[in-house]
Structure formats: structure tokens, C-alpha cells
Symmetry: C2
DNA sequence: CTCGCCTGCGCAACCGTTTGCTCTGATTTT
DNA sequence: AAAATCAGAGCAAACGGTTGCGCAGGCGAG
């Protein structure tokens, strides 16, 4: 690989001059600059990231921590959407993204923080992870600029999908269609789940609707087996609900299959709704009623906030940005008012 | 950040000794090694990736080029699956992955190859992209170790999902259920499409089944609008097919909706099948018959091949690895033989 | 004519690591 | 006892690029 030295030799100027010429410093004459540029092109010069980073202590690199229980969050539609949007936003601004290695199999693996320091990432975005893990806390509490998604840490920027309002809207919608016996299979305990439960009860409380405890059950996110089983239980109750809300669109499929298996129709016999707005699910008839999370906006805001924090740490406001979702009315909630 | 120099000062030994001690060179006494390790821990030493990379000319970094028409391939279930598996495999072996910047919005953006050289990636994996783009060709034909997925370049390693056999199996299955009038809405021209068309005709030819040309139509991948329209056309034909095969599971949804809209039942009135095996689709009743692509295996093989090419360039065989898919029998193909 | 300023470029240090070679003192071999 | 070997540690250059400072020459102004 051609280096600055090669160009300097070719042009008969110093390495410093070459560097300045290529970086558009003002103290280089137009003539020299052109000669240098030409030589660079001829020699196939390629700047060296490592050398530059070593000297400037800036990498223009962002570390990404998207970890699912199973593996990375890549196969998780919601997070894949967020990441996709995040990626394209930071790339537009000249940042590159690298995954923070989360392999457990490595002989002497680094902690997340160690890995970040090693690479010298300018900032980090975290999502879809066990936020309680000590390793995550260590990273978040370091001096590295960090933005978290869907989880709030003290004194750190967080981008939050508005789960409270979203769930309230969804529940309100069900109530407005005349449903009173609404069951809610929610996800495992987490920031997100808590918010949605809050939203759920906020809606029912406001209308004075009392939801029996056995209607509200925790199941795993993105798991059809759990929802299948719990749905069967709900359907076999003496006082069966008229409407079942699921942790997410995918998990809803388990419920839908259970309902069909019992010979019941959706929405005539039983109404259902999901959460997320996964295209592969809501595009299919009967269209699932759900709450569409604005993954594009979430990723974009996360990216912009993080870059701002990196480039203007003083003036960047540390805050929780809440991104609203939108109720997506499908055809799986029956109108009982007619 | 503490550096080797800090440790050397603390321990009263040279920087070289510290480096060797931490890297387990054999010419350092156990005593010194221990003292160094202790000091490193105390000072919170973190190795510097850039310095190391600069010196050794090795980054242990892999560049990833997963570009969709829309944006990255992250929201594409198939590629997300492949990438996820790829990621975890290389991470287990101590490699990190960074996306090759494909933003078009950057003022003076680098070409893919320039970006790869800049970062000094040890290798590159390419998928889900317009393989005809000159920039991609430039990258592939460089001296950088490269593995492509689902596309063959001359003299380069390629990991291929076995689309020929997969499609043959699917078509055979339809034929075995007594279907003769099989329509195939395939994707836009590409390596993958060509392979599947080959597979399709191989199956029909073998059984001496003649497929009218108007039964075979190109539509976009992962697009429900196109398949919706084309399905309506097929259904309105005088001699309507009994079975329609779609470019992929997601695109199949458009067809399914069109069929339902015409008041037809699946599979009683018309049979359908997809391709890919997207969980959010095939887990729903009636389960879509499809071909499950082995994303896990594809990603893993791509990773292992690439790492082998990086670490043992001499002995690594340049070949096309073909990964079979599996027919997933759902409930959307009617049995006409009974 | 002299002074000061501006323009254009080079000097040299430095970023943190790695590694081949050298040096020293001790131990083993003959 | 002299020579050869060896373990353990340091020296110093090198990787490629950046940047504050200094310096020379040309110019206009006083």
C-alpha cells in the first residue's frame, strides 16, 4: 500500500506537506495540492485508518450492542429495523459501526467495556439486551458516550418507544369497540413490559373496567409456544375474555393458532391484537390489529443524539426521547357495540 | 488510558518487556510477567487496537457488505439470519465485524474497496447486493480475501443456498400431489432466480409437464403488490392454474390475499407455496408450504471459509459451497390425487 | 531601504505496539 | 578453567499519519 511517504518521494515534498495537502489545510498552495492529489491517485494511495486513529485518538467508529437471549438482535424484526435506520443515519455522517463482540466462547474474551476501549469507539448504542447484566452497567457507567434504546439509565440518553401511550391507545381502542373482558398476555418483566402494563391499566382504570388477575399473564416475548398454552387456558375459563392482547405480533401467532384450533373465529368469536407492526404478519389477512413502532425514527434519533453527544458533549441535552407509535387498526378486533 | 509505557514505568522494566510479558512471550520470567500483569490490572491498562493494527498490519476485522435496494439487508429475514449466524461464528474466533459504509450521501465517500483498504479489514463477506455494480466488482477482484453469498464470481469462494434442488423438490412435491397446472411467479433476474427457474423446469420437464409461458411471470422479491396483481391475472385466466408458487414467503402474502379476495379457499380451490421459511409467516395457519433455507449453516460456512482464507490462504480451497434447503410441508398444497 | 507580514513548506515529535537483535550474567559443557 | 550455551531483559527502529512551530523568501507599506 502506498503511504504518504511514497507520495512525498514522488512529489519531492515532505510527508507533512502531503498530509496537509490531502486534508485540505489552507497553508498549501493550489499547485502543490494538485501535484499531490495526482500522485496519490497514480500510486493508488489509501489512507491508513489505524495510523490516523492512533494519532488523533478519534475513530469515527460506533460500537453496537444488540444482544438477544439467543444471539444478536439481528433476527428480531423490531431491533433489526432500528439498527437498519441507525446504521444508515450514522453512515451518512461518516461513522462506521462495529458490533461489540459478545461471544461467550472466546478463551480470553474482553468485557464489553474493554472491547470498546480497545477499539476506541467514539460512542456506543445499546439495545435489546439484559440491561441488568453487570457488564452492561460497567459500560454504561463509563465515560464513553452512550445511548440506550428502550431502557433508561441514570443520567444517560435513552430513546424510548412510547409503550405506555401505545398500549393505552390499543386498549382504549378495544374498549371503544365494546370490549370489557380484555385479557393481556404480556412479556417477561422489563422496562418495556412495565410500560405497557402501565398503559394497559391506565386505559382500563379510566373507564372503570376491572380486569381479573387471571386475565393478565406473563409469557415470553416472541414465543408462540407460551402464548399458545396460555391462550388455551384463557379460552377454557368459565368467564372467557372477549379479547386477548399479546406481547408482540409474533407471539400473537401462537394465540391465533390456539383459537383456530378450538374452532373459534377471529374476530367474530374472539378478538386479538399484537404489538410491533411486523410486516410479514400484519400484511396477511385477517390483518392483525397492532401498534406500529416507529423503528425508523427510533434508529434515526438514537444516531443523531449519539453523534451530537460525541461531537458536542457540552451542549447535548441528556434526556429521554420518547417516540410515539401508531395504532394500526386491522380486522381482528370485533365491534361489539353494534 | 494507561499504556505500556505507564506499566513499564511502574514496574521498572522496559516497554518491550511489558509487551512481551502481556503477550505471553517465552523469554520473560514468570516473576516479571506476574508483576507486569498486576500493574496492568492496577492501572486499568487497555491495549490499543490502532497501534497494534498499525504495527502488525492485522486488524482481526471483517467487513460486511449487505445491501438491499432499500437500505441494508438487515430487515431482510433471510439475510438477517445469515448475518446473525456469520457474526456469531466469527466472533467466536476473535474477529469483529464492521459494516462497509454504503451511504450515498457522504460528501467524499469512498468506494467499497477504498473503505476496506482504509480499515484494513482482513476479509470481506458480500451478500444481498447488486452484484453487477462496478464498485462491487472492483472489491471482489482485489486481493482482499472475499466470500460471496448466493452469487458466484470467478475464482472466489461462494456460499450458495441450493436453489436448484430446493425448487426442484418443491415443484416435485406439487406434482406428486397431482398438480399439473403450476404457475410460478419468480423474482427479478438474478443468480438466485435463475437457479430456481432451472429447478422448476427440471422438475416439470422430467415429468413431461408443459407449463404455458403465461404461467411463469417475474415479479419483485419481497413485494406483495406485484404478486397481488399477478395472482389476480392468473386467477382470471380461462385455464387457471391449480397451484401458484411465489418468489418468497413474504411475496406470497400478496398472492394469498388476492386469492382470498376472490372468494377462493386455500388449498381447496387453489394451492400456494413460498420460499425461504420465514418464521413469522410459516408459523401461522394455514401453514405455508415452502423451502426452508439453512441460514444458520450458510452464515457459519461463510464465516469458516473466510477465516480459513485469511489465516491459511495457501491451503484453502476456492470453491462454491452449496447448502441444501429443506422442503417444509405446510397445509397450502391440496392433494389432488385422492 | 528597511521593517513587518503573509504565504508556503519542512522539521520533528508523537501516538502505542511489536519485534529482531544485542547485551549481560549465570549456568552448563568439555 | 575456559568455552559454549542460555535465560531474561533492553534497545531502537518501525508502522503511517498529524500538527504546532519555525523558517525562508516575496511582497507591500512606510
Amino acid at each position: 500500500m502506498a503511504s504518504l511517504k511514497d507520495i512525498s518521494r514522488q512529489c519531492g515534498v515532505s510527508v507533512a506537506t502531503v498530509s496537509k495537502a490531502l486534508n485540505n489545510h489552507t497553508d498549501i498552495s493550489e499547485g502543490t495540492r494538485e501535484r499531490v492529489r495526482k500522485a496519490a491517485k497514480e500510486l493508488g494511495y489509501s489512507p491508513n485508518f489505524s495510523a490516523r486513529a492512533l494519532k488523533t485518538n478519534k475513530t469515527h467508529g460506533i460500537g453496537v450492542l444488540f444482544v438477544d437471549e439467543a444471539r444478536s438482535g439481528l433476527t428480531h424484526d423490531y431491533f433489526a429495523g432500528v439498527l437498519d435506520s441507525f446504521k444508515s443515519t450514522v453512515e451518512d455522517k461518516g461513522y462506521d459501526i462495529t458490533f461489540i463482540n459478545c461471544s461467550k466462547k472466546q478463551p480470553n474474551r474482553m468485557t464489553f467495556l474493554e472491547h470498546v476501549r480497545y477499539h476506541g469507539f467514539d460512542g456506543v448504542v445499546i439495545a435489546c439486551i439484559d440491561f441488568g447484566a453487570p457488564e452492561v452497567a460497567e459500560l454504561v457507567q463509563s465515560d464513553i458516550p452512550v445511548v440506550t434504546i428502550d431502557h433508561v439509565f441514570n443520567n444517560k440518553i435513552a430513546i424510548m418507544s412510547d409503550n405506555i401511550t401505545g398500549m393505552t391507545a390499543l386498549t382504549d381502542y378495544c374498549i371503544s369497540k365494546g370490549h370489557k373482558k380484555i385479557a393481556y398476555l404480556h412479556g417477561e418483566p422489563s422496562t418495556v413490559t412495565t410500560a405497557r402494563l402501565t398503559g394497559f391499566y391506565r386505559a382500563t382504570d379510566k373507564k372503570g373496567i376491572v380486569i381479573p388477575d387471571e386475565y393478565v399473564v406473563g409469557t415470553k416475548y416472541r414465543d408462540t409456544v407460551g402464548t399458545y398454552k396460555e391462550t388455551l387456558k384463557l379460552l377454557k375459563m368459565k368467564d372467557r375474555p372477549t379479547c386477548i392482547l399479546y406481547p408482540d405480533d409474533f407471539a400473537a401467532l401462537g394465540g391465533i393458532n390456539a383459537i383456530r384450533e378450538m374452532g373459534l373465529r377471529i374476530p367474530e368469536d374472539i378478538s386479538v391484537a399484537g404489538y410491533d407492526g411486523i410486516k410479514a404478519i400484519i400484511d396477511r389477512e385477517p390483518q392483525l390489529t397492532t401498534v406500529l413502532q416507529a423503528t425508523d425514527l427510533i434508529g434515526e434519533r438514537a444516531a443523531k443524539k449519539l453523534i451530537s453527544l460525541i461531537e458536542k458533549p457540552k451542549t447535548t441535552i441528556i434526556e429521554q426521547v420518547v417516540i410515539p407509535g401508531t395504532l394500526k387498526e386491522g380486522r381482528t378486533i370485533a365491534d361489539l357495540t353494534k
